[in-house]
């Protein structure tokens, strides 16, 4: 999977939101503070905030990160939001179909028997909020980094690979019997 499409979209989105004006001024400080940007606590806090507020779900961090083959089994949903601007990369939410339908049901109050467009929109929207919440926790990144619209992939036996990332955070979480994995991957920081 290549992230170029979502990244281009995120960069285009960022251009309309004042990123160009702040880019030069912020460039130095973001690279210098990569330990802050890559702080794993920010991801946990973002997941907690989004799932509690939007879904009323208290997620537990799973000590075991679900491997891609596990997630890539039958009926997997992957939502991708691209980052563009001071930081380029993506926020990726992966879960099994059952978890995706639970998330969408909790968001909309509807019941789902299959992965339809509403489920895909719901998972994409949660990924969008996770990306927004995550970048808002890093000073300078909220205004200096644009988000793409969500891309949602469904299917099985696929993998997500990013070449030589600057850093990658990959955490799994559990609610009830369902689980999901969130990955923040950064392949460029200015």
């Amino acid at each position: 999977m290549k992230l170029n499409g979502v990244r281009s979209s995120a960069i285009a989105s960022g251009r309309g939101c004042g990123i160009q004006q702040t880019e030069n001024g912020m460039a130095q400080s973001l690279r210098k503070s990569i330990h802050v940007v890559a702080d794993p606590k920010n991801l946990d806090a973002s997941v907690d905030e989004v799932f509690k507020t939007m879904l009323g779900i208290d997620c537990q961090r799973d000590p075991v990160v679900l491997s891609t083959p596990t997630l890539g089994g039958p009926g997997t949903v992957t939502a991708v939001i691209g980052f563009g601007g001071l930081l380029s990369g993506a926020c990726v939410l992966q879960c099994r179909s059952e978890a995706a339908m639970l998330i969408a049901a909790q968001m909309t109050g509807m019941e789902f028997q299959e992965i339809d467009d509403t489920v895909k929109d719901g998972v994409g929207e949660i990924c969008n909020m996770l990306a927004g919440a995550w970048k808002s926790k890093v000073p300078g990144l909220a205004a200096g980094c644009g988000l793409s619209v969500p891309a949602v992939i469904t299917g099985h036996d696929y993998d997500l690979h990013v070449q030589a990332p600057e850093f990658e955070l990959r955490h799994s979480y559990r609610f009830g019997d369902a689980s999901f994995t969130v990955t923040i991957v950064c392949d460029g920081i200015q």
């Binding site: 989105s13 309309g16 939101c17 004042g18 905030e49 989004v50 507020t53 939007m54 968001m107 909309t108 109050g109 509807m110 509403t118 929109d121 719901g122 929207e125 969008n128 909020m129 990306a131 927004g132 919440a133 808002s136 909220a142 205004a143 988000l147 619209v149």
Partner: protein, 113 residues
């Protein structure tokens, strides 16, 4: 997002509202030509036509004059909010949001409509 907002409005006690949905900004503009509304709620981050462009088109085409528009955004920076207000939005809701927050933003605008 449309289903989520509709559910939040109903959870906030606004069950009597008639909600019209548009899948895209262009669809929303088209619907507004023939369907008067009291309030418009739009996401900013949308494909094809983003929420800010939707607002600009809304004003340029003089559709729904005086109708308050609330933007929903994941972006929390002052710059994004300023752009939405400058483009004509009367309020914004930051994602993630609770039904109560939707009510707080929407109810005063509906009352003044």
């Amino acid at each position: 997002m449309r289903k989520i907002i509709e559910r939040a409005l109903r959870q906030a006690g606004l069950e009597q509202l008639v909600v019209r949905e548009a899948g895209t900004g262009a669809d929303g503009l088209e619907q507004l030509r023939s369907n008067p509304v009291d309030l418009i709620i739009s996401d900013i981050n949308m494909p094809t036509m983003d929420g800010l462009e939707f607002l600009r088109q809304l004003q340029a085409q003089k559709l729904a004059p005086g109708v308050p528009v609330v933007m929903i955004t994941t972006e929390s920076s002052e710059e994004h909010v300023k752009q939405a207000i400058q483009a004509g939005a009367r309020g914004y809701i930051r994602k993630p949001f609770t039904a109560e927050q939707v009510k707080e933003r929407v109810l005063p605008l509906l009352k003044s409509a």
